[in-house]
């Protein structure tokens, strides 16, 4: 096992070739996402979407997809934004921006599988957050969407080593983070953190990215980290994992993260986890369809 120091990870992240090509709308968009929904102005969103041709086209395409069951396809960006609702536009924007930031050629992971897990986890985080009456469902959604961003970093900055780690995970049917640790000596949590710091993401999101596999180590935003940790496990157990069989048993109710969540949210006691699991199954198809729409037929 090789030990890669934080300094080396930071250095490589700095040199990710494609980082400068992050769409210009990305950072303003992140700011927008961090604002309370009632403060978001529709015109601002329309402006942001129109700013980038690729993203504008992407939004129009998704808005016209059968998923939304519209009789008539929207012809303008404004129409698309109105049709989709802010929430979906955010999802599409963030996904497209990240997709552009990390071109999917030569990914060790199937990008469709990666986005499926990220979007799936975002969805589960939001539903979970609603279920327990947490105060910021959008934050939960964003945390879920970004928690595994380190995999995208590894695909770009550590392609060879990460390729080996993925192969090892598939062969041994073990979780990817364990395989990364075995082969690379660090995981997507560290590389994701380096990118998140470089991008000046909010501190709670950085905590999620860095500690979603070890929530007990986080020193801030613990309930959010715990929520993402549990949602990530649920996704991997219900068909929204990384596209291979993980020999993994999850006892969520006795997971320390469950206790952390319970401290702040008494409602958790009344959550029927089995029914919640079944309800999530219903949304799996939706996530597959969304990824299919955004990424076209390349989805495996």
């Amino acid at each position: 096992m090789t030990t890669v120091s934080a300094a080396i990870i930071r250095e490589r992240v700095k040199n990710i070739e494609t980082t400068p090509s992050i769409p210009a709308v990305f950072l303003p968009l992140l700011k927008l996402l961090n604002a309370p929904p009632e403060d978001v102005r529709l015109e601002e969103v329309v402006k942001l979407v129109s700013y980038d041709n690729t993203i504008a086209a992407q939004c129009l395409r998704v808005a016209s997809s059968p998923l939304f069951g519209l009789a008539k396809s929207p012809e303008s960006i404004k129409g698309a934004v109105l049709t989709l609702g802010l929430r979906k536009v955010e999802t599409i924007l963030l996904t497209c921006c990240l997709g552009q930031a990390f071109p999917s050629r030569q990914w060790a992971l199937d990008p469709a599988v990666f986005w499926r897990h990220s979007l799936g986890c975002a969805m589960v985080c939001r539903k979970f957050s609603e279920k327990i009456g947490a105060h910021d469902h959008d934050k939960a959604y964003m945390a879920g969407l970004l928690h595994d961003i380190g995999f995208a970093v590894n695909c770009q900055a550590f392609a060879t080593e990460f390729g080996k780690a993925v192969k090892h995970a598939l062969q041994e049917q073990i979780p990817l983070n364990e395989a990364e640790h075995d082969i690379m000596g660090f995981t997507h949590c560290e590389s994701g953190r380096a990118l998140a710091e470089k991008w000046h993401l909010a501190d709670d999101i950085i905590q999620v990215i860095a500690y979603h596999h070890a929530p007990d180590l986080s020193h801030a935003a613990q309930p959010l980290v715990a929520l993402v940790h549990l949602s990530d496990l649920l996704c991997r157990m219900r068909g929204l994992g990384y596209g291979y069989y993980e020999r993994h048993k999850a006892d969520l109710l006795h997971n320390p993260a469950w206790a952390v969540l319970q401290q702040g949210h008494r409602e958790l006691e009344n959550v029927d986890l089995v029914r919640f699991t079944f309800e999530l199954d219903e949304a799996v198809g939706e996530v597959f369809a969304l990824v299919m729409t955004i990424f076209g037929t390349t989805a495996a």
Partner: protein
């Protein structure tokens, strides 16, 4: 009678992708609350279909009227039972839940073997409780045989299969199945573990039968339940849904004591224990859920 799923599309009420009357969603929630079996939104048309068949039989026209029948004090128990029969019809087949079998072979068996490796008797006891006509029991037997040269080399596997219904037990012993029951069985398993009896039917081979002991048992018979000791795995699919709260809870308590420490209890794929027993740990495996009796390893013993 023809089995449900085969003919679902030709029946009354909604087809796939057609909007479903919201009353069926209410019925879905009622069925879950009372029986612990959950129908996914995308399978709601099957629930509507089952209700439709019942409505036809009792001469009711609207879903709302059927809801009244299901909730009226005088008729609710009997009608709910009839509806459950319709919902679970055609559910039994061999290899019904691949995620359960994967969890069993890839995760649980290695864990049990490792945990029991120091014991003198290398023996595994599995109970198929409410085995109906034997599909689940033989599926388990075949999967155990697949492991007999690897994980389970040198191990003795016993599968106890019980059902309340004598006729089911007799049919189970014969082990003869048609296309419908074999719809999820791969050619590999068909060739290896079955012999043809006629053009349409296959019978399980004697070496599979040898692993399974069938008998009649009432899960509510407390004195007999006490004797079912030393189980490593208990499977009880779509049986408890017919029990009322207190009897369900009693049977589950029995299962808990029937199991060895570190053993697992499986329900049907859309069933839930609904917090009826706090001793079991709910555990998630890829695509399936099980209930675990914690092992003593981490405890004080």
């Amino acid at each position: 009678m023809i089995t449900g799923a085969q003919t679902a599309t030709t029946r009354i009420v909604p087809k796939v992708n057609e909007p479903v009357d919201p009353v069926f969603r209410q019925i879905r929630d009622l069925v879950y609350k009372v029986c612990g079996i959950f129908q996914l939104e995308e399978k709601l048309y099957l629930m509507a279909d089952a209700c439709g068949r019942r409505m036809k039989q009792v001469g009711i026209r609207t879903p709302r009227e059927y809801w009244d029948l299901l909730t009226a004090h005088s008729s609710r128990e009997a009608e709910l039972r009839q509806l459950l029969n319709e919902i679970t019809i055609g559910e039994t087949c061999l290899f019904r839940s691949q995620p359960q079998l994967d969890a069993l072979r890839k995760i649980i068996l290695p864990e049990l073997v490792q945990e029991k490796t120091k014991q003198v008797m290398k023996r595994l006891r599995i109970w198929s409780a409410g085995c109906s006509t034997g599909e689940e029991s033989y599926t388990l037997a075949m999967n155990m045989l697949e492991e007999s040269e690897r994980l389970l080399k040198g191990w003795t596997v016993e599968i106890l299969a019980t059902d309340l219904n004598d006729r089911s037990v007799e049919a189970a012993k014969a082990g003869i199945y048609g296309d419908y029951a074999l719809r999820s069985t791969t050619d590999y398993f068909k060739r290896k573990y079955f012999v043809p009896v006629d053009e349409k039917k296959l019978q399980v081979r004697p070496e599979v039968k040898k692993l399974v002991t069938f008998s009649r048992l009432n899960l509510q018979d407390d004195s007999r339940m006490l004797f079912m000791k030393g189980m490593d795995l208990v499977f009880c699919c779509n049986v408890l849904i017919y029990f009322d709260g207190p009897s369900k809870s009693k049977v589950i308590d029995h299962f808990f004591s029937n199991l060895n420490f570190g053993g697992y209890f499986f329900l049907g794929t859309s069933e839930s224990l609904m917090k009826l027993n706090d001793n079991f740990h709910l555990v998630h495996f890829p695509g399936t859920i099980a209930y675990w009796k914690p092992s003593l390893k981490s405890g004080k013993l």
